[in-house]
Symmetry: C3
Subunit: 394 residues, 3 copies
């Protein structure tokens, strides 16, 4: 679609993104989500045609990672740089769950000249999203009381509940694959658990996927071995979303059954909800022996489900044997990155480049979250950038 | 005060800041200090009215932290970004006291395209400020011999003697609270030791405060339990300053007595001078057992002075029971960040937002040190920025 | 030479640098190398006359250091900033040798909005340069398949074979010392092993020097104690280069003999090729005991050659007793940075500032590699910068 046409479409969207943090997709309207997709796509097309969408002359974007990350860190840095902001890292010990005055104060101390704070906090169930809101409240107060001339926007770069920059990048990938959001109506997507030799992988990706894809009338199947439940609150949201959008949401404990006639499969490991809950308690208590015991138990349980691999055979069950394979990367590829893993090497290799393309949307999704937080009329600002056509290089 | 009026006032100041490092406030004239305040305030007002004071198109500002820091690190990053410089971090092991050729060489190696070096080195008594001067001499030589096209300016981000970016931010906070520097004449400020469960806190904040506030005719009282002396050289400076400025400088060992009729109180823990001296010797000798023993001894001594808390009762002794509470943050708040600490929770909460406002001046004070180091006529450059009115965003 | 004249000369060079990675000097033509020198010199003169050569409005330059570094890291950061790019660090555990899918994927994941990747990987013999090519192939594929809108250029910041940013900075230093590349014809340069109390120093500097300096008709002598061979492939290259350029390439095991009548001496420690090979095997096998044993053996062998010091006496043997001393820094200076080392303090002190000047070319050499990778007609782009004369400061 031509840049100018996307900008025209943006004009028709009624959104409430201006001045708001982006924490959970289910707090946003369908128009909000379409806005993110359209702004992201526009920024991508501008950049790739050599036009710079630099909107800030200076300013900081703080990345607050409470977990290790390469992909999301670079996506955030890319988004900030694209818009003209400089990244400053606030690294904290991941074992530390700061609360109360420390959060309140730090949030203000780092924000005097800050435009955005990107936070990744996905380790402790019940903590990550809460932490983001605590930071948000501190910023609200600081702004109201004159400490902060501008209230920095918060971007959720992955929490215990959702991973909106991932799921929206995934959605943009699907939209560009099938042509439009409307074309996704009725398409069957399988978010499936898959075996991994590691343990404790966050729930936010599967949760983000089922909660987002049910918004647009997709036929969403969540598949996992018995016991590997997600947070019940979020499967409920997916259920309601599906009903409202005219889509479908099904849970099954059979990977093969799930794959039958699927248009899209998203096989990925995660730790069961109840294990993550126990883990959070043990981490809080600093119980190292308990943590080791839990890990052993979880790994032993995982090992019973090595057949939950996305292999060539199961792919044959999908629509015309040619479903689109998706992954947030890095995948545990059997015989490549591990002995036995989430996906058979032949399957991954077939879709490898497409998973890279999928990941390539993330910097633009983050930049779109920033832009819509800061500019009330994204269409106007994008039209100006397009018309001005400032060359990025040379 | 209107931006244009501050700029007019700047024109009347005779300063020697151009091309000079900012290492100690007592090496600077009153006009120099007022210049920093006025330039900082102007930059703050420009930024907050949406005007960008970006003066550098590119260039590096190096942050050399020899101690952990979040607040000062972000303040430095903010100041650099505000003016258009990119921060590059030179992190060193804090246990390492580099000297001689290593310092001389490294100073040049990092400075080929560098405009400023911010240094924080406050752990070793007798070392931090010396190190900054060593770096400065190396830069002088490098510039004189053609190695460096430009002699980078050094900003002291805290040393063993002074913490000028803190004390000047504090002074700007006071000036804006009371309306003018002149209004500070005769105001009673109490720099008081306070109990903290930790040990080895640097002396640079109390030293910086007593040496700076005595410059402007304030009535400065330094209070601490017997034995918790600051570096004698600096209390001498405070004494001389007070005599010259028509102010007053008193030392007392009674916190309550000190608080009587105070306009401003600044209760903060520090380690006694003689303990810091022993600690430096032990650190140099790598004597871990000795260090542990010293820490135990110091903590036991501290524990005798838990009554040195800034509590509601003592605050009642101050002028109209309503003195301004100040702190460089983070404070040790009783029952909040520790069991027993520097300040009672109710006192801190009353002034919490004001301590945030106090901290908010630091990025602009640092930027002012950079600007006055680099531009001979700050009034002209600020007037240009104001007139041009380049929008920072959009 | 006047900036405008260098730009005129650039116009006459036929180079193949556009769109190509800079991995090894011996893959580049003489004109390519002269282009790097001329572009670097032009950028230096522009910057030093206050003109900004900022060519990128935004964009990332990623520094991927698989070994500790201060000098090269700052040189890369300076080069990127000079051209308008922001540095993002990709730090990896140095013990990790990533391959295959991990490299392929990571290379793409960090490159969506990236213009350059600078890589330093010099620890494992047979690995560093190979890794760079693996990254390059991944980027080629990503670009060909539409994942990357632009194929980022790779700059070799030191590998197991070559250290082109160092050797070209050294060559620029020599050109500016002697007036022209032509003036280097017949000059005798001695790349000599020297004693150091440390072990395992990379071979890339001596290899880079002998392979580069033989290109321009210099009389290159490589001196080392028996057993301290470089990679044979590279001494072969030096040999062929010398024959082709009308220069000379000699290997000797006698430092004094080598110094006789030398115009330039470059005394520097390195680990023997066969030791580095064993070390790589042991590191791969994770054999800590073996590594310790090898280190002990190597240090004991080194200790037999403490007379391989660049001292005042040996310097007297050189041309008029006044050869130019060179070093990539930091040098092991006897009695200064170590008890016994590569160079006598009096010799180093005499040339100290000149080694700083030598190092000062590196940021500009890196920037020249970036500029020539990205712009097909460097003369035009430099002429534009010169004419526009955009002030960097103020």
């Amino acid at each position: 679609m031509k840049t100018i046409d996307i900008i025209e479409r943006i004009k028709t969207l009624k959104t409430g993104l201006y001045g708001k943090d982006f924490l959970l997709t289910w707090e946003k309207s369908e128009d909000d989500l379409k806005m993110i997709l359209d702004v992201a796509q526009t920024l991508k097309q501008l950049r790739e045609s050599g036009i710079s969408p630099k909107l800030f002359d200076s300013g900081l974007a703080i990345s607050n990672f409470r977990d290790k990350s390469t992909r999301t860190r670079f996506s955030f840095a890319s988004a900030a740089n694209l818009l003209g902001l400089e990244v400053a890292d606030l690294d904290e010990e991941k074992s530390q769950i700061a609360h109360g005055e420390t959060v309140r104060e730090t949030a203000n101390m780092i924000s005097f000249l800050t435009d955005f704070i990107g936070i990744r906090d996905d380790i402790f169930l019940g903590e990550g999203n809460k932490y983001m809101r605590e930071v948000g409240e501190a910023l609200d107060e600081g702004h109201a009381k004159g400490v902060l001339p501008h209230r920095p926007g918060i971007v959720n770069l992955q929490c215990d509940k959702d991973h909106p920059t991932q799921s929206l990048a995934d959605l943009l990938h699907l939209r560009n694959t099938y042509g439009s959001v409307e074309a996704l109506q009725g398409k069957k997507i399988v978010m499936s658990w898959a075996y991994s030799p590691s343990y404790g992988k966050p729930l936010s990706v599967p949760q983000g996927i089922i909660a987002l894809m049910t918004r647009f009338g997709m036929d969403v199947t969540l598949a996992y071995p018995e016991g590997y439940d997600l947070i019940p609150e979020i499967t409920d949201i997916a259920d309601r979303n599906a009903k409202k959008s005219g889509g479908n949401f099904t849970i099954t404990n059979d990977m093969k059954e799930a794959f039958v006639d699927a248009d899209i499969v998203y096989p990925k490991s995660w730790a069961p909800f109840h294990i993550m809950e126990q883990r959070t308690q043990l981490l809080k208590a600093g119980d190292k022996a308990g943590l080791q015991e839990l890990e052993n138990k979880a790994l032993a349980e995982n090992a019973k489900h090595k057949d939950w691999e996305c292999d060539v055979e199961k792919m044959k069950l999908t629509k015309e044997g040619d479903a689109l394979y998706m992954h947030c990367l890095p995948a545990d590829i059997s015989g490549v990155s591990c002995k036995e893993g989430e996906v058979e090497a032949a399957v991954f290799e077939k879709y490898r480049i497409r998973t890279y393309l999928e990941a390539g949307y993330k910097p633009y999704v983050i930049a779109a979250m920033m832009l819509t937080n800061r500019f009330e009329k994204p269409d106007r600002i994008l039209a100006e950038l397009f018309t001005k056509g400032k060359k990025r290089v040379g």
